[in-house]
């Protein structure tokens, strides 16, 4: 089929819109910093074996608690392990937790929130009541209890944090859906007899996607903080596997003599959370001004 003049015009218009959108993103300093920061973290986590100057678990008992030097850029911990290498490998745990927690809690939360928001009536009331009750439990405490019960492998930590933070995502998603529900195309789909599930999958969820992306970045940040907290309390992935949280905890004993260990690990966490939040704020500002209201409430 040959392209008609109309086709070309439409395509050009779409390309123009894309270019305008890219310009808008490029102009948002927070978004640019956030996106670049995430990219850097991904590269560090993926290339850790090549980037790390030493093995993160090799102990050098002749050089415990060494100050920064040409060999050990950030010094060594009390077992003589290279702090920099531990931080580089620590990125792997944090990013995995961030990614998989978001994947799980967002899928579950989005479906729950979409069903609650779309269904209305008693289904909505029941789901909302359930979500509200779950929100009364401090999420971190919930994650703590679940991890304690299920053991502290990476998998169980991810599942525990995901379960603990799903109610929040569901609550946000419902409020997003509430703003989509009254739009005319939903009414129209209902009028032509589309089944509720098809409407949710084809219309509600795709239209809720921009806010979902924003929620995803913020949830990833929260999940990473939660994992760090668990690690710090000794309930995260166990040493010698390095996580930023357990590096801080192990550095705590020598914080007055070698503050760099805990300080640098904390800065890694903060950097990750800041770039995720900047990315989220940037997306929120650029995607749709109206959704500020929906996503601003719980996250």
């Amino acid at each position: 089929m040959s392209a008609t003049v109309d086709d070309i015009e439409i395509r050009e218009e779409a390309a123009q819109r894309r270019r305008a959108a890219i310009r808008r993103y490029a102009k948002h300093p927070g978004f640019v910093i956030g996106a670049c920061g995430i990219l850097v973290l991904l590269v560090v986590a993926l290339l850790a074996p090549w980037l790390a100057p030493h093995s993160p678990t090799r102990t050098d008992l002749m050089n415990t608690l060494a100050p920064p030097s040409a060999t050990y850029w950030l010094g060594t911990d009390q077992f003589g392990r290279d702090v920099l290498s531990r931080l580089i490998y620590g990125a792997q745990v944090s990013l995995q937790v961030g990614f998989f927690v978001v994947l799980i809690s967002l899928s579950a939360g989005t479906i729950l929130g979409a069903v609650a928001g779309y269904a209305g009536g008693w289904v909505e009331r029941a789901l909302v009541a359930a979500i509200d009750i779950l929100l009364a439990f401090p999420s971190f405490l919930l994650a703590l209890a679940l991890v304690a019960a299920r053991g502290n492998t990476l998998d169980s930590i991810i599942v525990a944090v995901a379960i603990a933070y799903t109610p929040r995502v569901a609550a946000v998603m419902r409020s997003v859906v509430l703003t989509i529900r009254p739009r005319p195309f939903i009414e129209a789909s209902r009028a032509i007899g589309l089944s509720p599930w098809k409407i949710i999958l084809r219309h509600i969820i795709p239209n809720a996607l921009p806010p979902v992306i924003v929620v995803a970045t913020v949830s990833a940040a929260t999940a990473i903080l939660a994992e760090a907290g668990l690690s710090f309390l000794g309930l995260g992935v166990q040493p010698p596997t390095p996580t930023w949280g357990n590096v801080i905890a192990e550095g705590q004993t020598s914080i007055t003599t070698n503050p760099l260990i805990s300080l640098s690990a904390g800065l890694c966490i903060a950097f990750t959370v800041i770039v995720l939040n900047l990315l989220g704020d940037g997306l929120r500002d650029t995607l749709d001004p109206q959704m500020r209201r929906n996503t601003g409430k719980l996250l």
Binding site: F137, P138, L144, G229, L233, I248, G266, V273, I274
Partner: protein
């Protein structure tokens, strides 16, 4: 108004039953046999059976649930497996230091977060706004336990302003406050950052509303518009934020208590988790959730007092 209060009370009752239910099924949903957890892998079959019978674990789940609900209503949340004492009593004894920390932390959080959020909204786009928001972003991004460590390192170790321990057995009000100050400040400022961000967006929304434009057109002074007219409108979203952050700050308080070696619910629950004392964990989780539910009911009552439209419906 009376009807509104009654409805809030009814909601509170439902929520309390709800959290007890969730706590019950949460503990049952944990894989494995609690009796084995409690007695260890080498327990004899007889002792396991005895414990199961004592805990009612040999009964059908619904019967267990009914019994649990009934005893919870009487204030009986079972006995600690480790000490054999009432779980609720044990948790209750850890409440005062945690309540002090939570109240002091929330007070600091509100005192800093709300005014800064309002100022940032009023000066939207200016240097003040950018600075406040950058600080707030930092505040929500640094792990609270790390902030605690830094505070100990700088304010306590280097400058000697505060003790590194978050609690003391010394008698008197001043030592208690002196030891509480640092943990409360760390907890408070991390929550303040969160409150500031959300207060700003709530305030911006109100300031964009028509009635604010009307007040400006009528020559009402800007100070009065922001701190009287708009603030009352923004009060409900701001209070809602405080309600949400309260649950969150209780989670953070566990970490703060750990950093400052401060006794309280956090360390009690943590110890219970490590000792696999599930009855105690369950009681602790329930008490914290009940605190959140109670605060939210109180806030609902305040909303009704602020917004006449809520009272009517």
């Amino acid at each position: 108004m009376l009807f509104y209060v009654a409805r809030c009370a009814a909601q509170l009752a439902v929520a309390l039953v709800g959290i007890v239910t969730v706590a019950f099924f949460l503990m049952r949903a944990i894989p494995g046999d609690p009796a084995i957890y409690m007695l260890g892998d080498y327990a004899t079959t007889e002792s396991l059976a005895a414990l199961r019978a004592r805990l009612g674990l040999d009964l059908p789940v619904w019967q267990q649930y009914g019994m649990f609900l009934a005893s919870a209503a009487r204030g009986d949340l079972g006995a600690s497996v480790v000490t054999g004492q009432s779980a609720l009593a044990e948790i209750w004894s850890a409440v005062p230091p945690s309540a002090e920390l939570a109240v002091a932390g929330m007070a600091i959080a509100i005192a800093f977060g709300v005014p800064l959020g309002i100022v940032a909204a009023v000066r939207q786009g200016t240097f003040v706004d950018v600075a406040v928001m950058a600080l707030a972003l930092g505040g929500i991004s640094f792990p609270v336990f790390w902030l605690g460590l830094v505070a100990i390192l700088v304010l306590s170790h280097d400058m000697g302003l505060f003790p590194a321990l978050g609690a003391t057995s010394e008698p008197g009000l001043w030592p208690a406050i002196h030891h509480l100050a640092l943990p409360a400040l760390v907890l408070g400022l991390s929550v303040a950052a969160y409150i500031a961000r959300l207060t700003r967006s709530a305030m911006l929304e109100v300031l964009g509303q028509d009635h604010i434009r009307v007040a400006r057109a009528m020559g009402v002074p800007e100070r009065r518009i922001v701190w009287h007219l708009a603030l009352r409108n923004a009060a409900i979203p701001i209070l809602a934020v405080i309600g949400v952050t309260f649950a969150w700050s209780l989670g953070n308080a566990i970490l703060v208590e750990a950093v400052f070696s401060r006794p309280g619910l956090g360390s009690t629950i943590l110890k219970a988790i490590l000792a696999r004392d599930y009855q105690l964990v369950q009681a602790g989780v329930l008490v914290l959730a009940a605190a959140v539910v109670l605060l939210n009911t109180l806030l609902d009552l305040v909303y009704g007092a602020i917004d006449p439209r809520l009272r009517k419906a």
